[in-house]
Symmetry: C2
Subunit: 487 residues, 2 copies
């Protein structure tokens, strides 16, 4: 074969492979590959090794602990710890830190981590909605390996608060670590491996009614992490709201000294609602009997206070809803409490619906910043509402409403009225309920207010000394883990 | 060039490409590929198209609604609806169905879906721990596209309950659908695209304090779904447990007629705990004054009943813990309530610690099956405990304990004692608290029981007529959405 032939021959030897290689790189990757990458291409061709390629670093997918929030500030509000007496402050701060530590544990903050699903892993797995009952063996749904052919496939799973196993393993199926925290499954057939993954179960070994575990699922150099929610199922608690307003609502009143006003209120209620149950919590010094059909009168030790009375009244309710009224309110011709029920029944998520007293709706929002775990949060009460309640003209979401409101009995019991607060207190209930109670304020749900005629004695309680508000702030400094409060 | 040369030439033309192709299939996939797949190999070479290959079907990743659970059975227990009077049953069932529907909405069952992370997608995204405050713009963490080179990269995101946007978009950055439910980002540079993904924010537009949204994130034919948790942050509620037992614990008693026993109890308490607060809820017909330092006596309307009294007492507590005792118990030399506090302080997750009355610990487990939404659940009380409480010899997790227990005030308030239950009632509290209260029973925490000497009148209340238990079961049929109950 002559020289020209030899050249043609060599040229072909060079051109053909280059031409063919170009085909595989039609999307342009060829031009930014190094020769070593070209020759390792057969490995790149499977997704498994995507993560091995330099420009796809193995991602850090967590768990990342959500760290301590930054310190917060409320302008023009003195630090709450100023209201604690100097000599007590150090001890109090130590106790508050310990109670807060316990609170974080109870709230499951240790499970409050950020997890990411990494790109380009050959693993499929559940990321939400996989819940198990404590100590009960449960199949893990959705575990799949999808990769290109191998001579051997091998995946591993590990957990902390339970054990793993594969159900009814047959001879010839390779499973290591049955009923242990680390499980390894291998097979020469991808189909068989996925069949085994289909039968993987989790059983929690540490009894707890509300906790979480993390499962680590890996194949070769790929690892994913997914959450396992451990929950003891709870029994529903429903109220039979019966057929009429009397089986749906109880009216609650806190009485103190002002019996004249109380009787005016009761008379006005009976005018429109002759049979509805009225619960009266009374902490007067010399309680007078208040009697009548469907009136329950509870006598408290003298001057137990405002929130103790509210909490007592709520504790005795057997209806789905209760209506809160002050002892010096008065029902008017336009006072129709059925409207509250209509709204609450139409929007089951709602917990509290506020009306208006003598035209005053008094609603507010609470601006809350968590703050650092050492200093505590910052809270500020501002006038205003959130968005409108869809479908109910004149109703708006808010964080707090006036003293005339209807609420879901069970929801309010969960929050409660802090019996420590004896006199001026109202916002404090909505502060404790922030994030727990869904509140709206509505126009046109009216009740009247009797003329002020408070006896001297009542007045002395109604208008407490400065020391009271000092104590109150130092109480909130501890109880609500606050750095500052601003009303 | 002669014949033999031509042959060599052709042979080379055939062998070289085949040899080269074989290289790319070194892992054997070549032998199970069809020629059409071979020619489409340049596309297979990128992970993006993995899902296009026949043996990698596009997975169904949810959301899958967790369906209606199957019907349940409790052997030897008559259906609870048999205890409802025939003529009421139909109405009652309708009302129960409606209350249950509302309950499911309140529990967020509509968000209770199963989501899977599909294998081999080029998308990275958050699967857990991404929480936003309602109506507040928040960066979505961890969004990344990892794929091989394209001439153009384009990803889309969509949500339902909020809007998406990319922060400070510069000229030349291509973003469609700012502040809308559908966002599309495109770029000719993968680096720029990921830089834009790094700035994607979510803002919920429907105000709600506890709800969820789902985000759909897609690239070419890949789609993933991840949850967005919408939560209004709540303010901690802490108790200052002070320095001694008196600032940590309040003792609660329900009194009815048996004043002689009550005074014996109080005397025995004062012997060991001279200053601890005692709260007495009294629904006797002719209440006698019970006075003393740190004794609070509450007078209820006559015969309001057992759970109404318990609920009243709990509503008045200002300490972190309370101790429940019956009016005919008696403190013994070995009665040391500090031991309860020690356990509760060491394990913050605990809510209730039960002791033993005259050597009787009376503990039980509740076997609960949810059952279908139409019929309701099945519950069975059986003697027994769960696992031991680590670190406390003789303490075991249980679902219910004896009438002598210490509990976290806030936890028990959340569950409450149903005032409907007037007489024989105890298990019912633990039933309502199932899944909410973490309960243990401990050996050696002793209290005594006074000799039985119940007056005839008391006995008539203590041992109620059959009709009571009929009403009770029909009450639970509705309230706890039960198909059957077995004690």
């Amino acid at each position: 074969m002559n020289r020209s032939h030899r050249i043609t021959f060599i040229v072909i030897l060079i051109i053909v492979p280059v031409f063919l290689l170009a085909l595989f790189y039609i999307d342009g990757d060829f031009w930014n590959k190094t020769s070593t990458q070209i020759w390792s291409f057969s490995r790149i061709s499977s997704c498994k090794t995507h993560a091995q390629v330099q420009d796809f670093p193995k991602p850090n997918i967590g768990p990342f602990l959500n760290g301590n929030p930054p310190s917060c500030t409320c302008q023009n509000a003195p630090p709450a710890n100023q209201f604690v007496s100097k000599d007590e402050l150090e001890d109090l701060q130590k106790r508050r830190a310990e109670e807060y530590r316990q609170h974080q544990i109870r709230m499951g903050k240790q499970n409050d981590v950020l997890l990411l699903a990494p790109a380009n892993t050959p693993l499929q797995y559940p990321i939400k909605g996989f819940r198990v009952t404590p100590m009960k063996k449960t199949l893990i749904p959705g575990l799949v390996l999808q990769t290109r052919m191998r001579t051997l496939y091998k995946v591993s799973l590990s957990v902390q608060k339970g054990v793993l196993s594969v159900m009814d393993v047959q001879e010839g199926e390779h499973v290591d670590g049955q009923n242990a925290i680390n499980l390894t499954i291998s097979s020469s057939s991808l189909h068989q491996l996925n069949d085994l993954l289909n039968r993987v179960t989790y059983t929690s070994t540490v009894y707890h009614i509300k906790t979480e575990d993390l499962a680590y699922f890996s194949f070769e150099n790929h690892e994913v992490i997914f959450p396992i929610v451990i929950r003891r199922p709870s029994v529903p608690v429903l109220f039979d709201s019966g057929k009429d307003i009397n089986s749906q609502v109880t009216i609650l009143v806190k009485a103190f000294l002002r019996y004249k006003e109380l009787h005016v209120l009761i008379k006005s209620i009976r005018q429109f609602y002759p049979n509805i149950k009225i619960i009266i919590a009374d902490d007067s010094h010399n309680p007078e009997k208040v009697v009548g059909d469907n009136i329950e009168h509870y006598i408290m030790p003298p001057a137990q206070g405002w929130f103790a009375g509210r909490n007592l009244a709520v504790s005795q309710v057997t209806t789905k809803y209760f209506l809160w009224v002050d002892d010096d309110f008065v029902f008017l011709n336009e006072t129709r409490i059925e409207s509250f029920v209509k709204i609450l029944e139409a929007v089951p998520d709602l917990d509290v619906v506020g009306g208006e007293v003598q035209g005053n709706r008094f609603f507010f929002r609470l601006q809350y910043e968590e703050g650092s775990s050492e200093e505590g949060g910052c809270i500020k009460r501002v006038r205003g509402t959130h968005t409108p309640l869809p479908g109910f003209n004149g109703c708006f979401y808010a964080d707090g409403v006036v003293n005339y409101f209807m609420a879901r009995t069970d929801a309010v019991r969960r929050v409660g009225f802090d019996p420590f607060l004896k006199r001026v207190a109202h916002t404090e209930f909505f502060l404790d309920g922030l994030g727990d109670l869904l509140v709206v304020t509505c126009k046109g749900l009216r009740i009247g207010h009797q003329k002020k005629s408070s006896t001297g004695k009542y007045g002395s309680y109604r208008h407490p000394p400065k020391s009271d508000s000092r104590n109150k702030i130092s109480h909130h400094y501890f109880k609500n883990h606050l750095k500052c409060i601003r009303y």
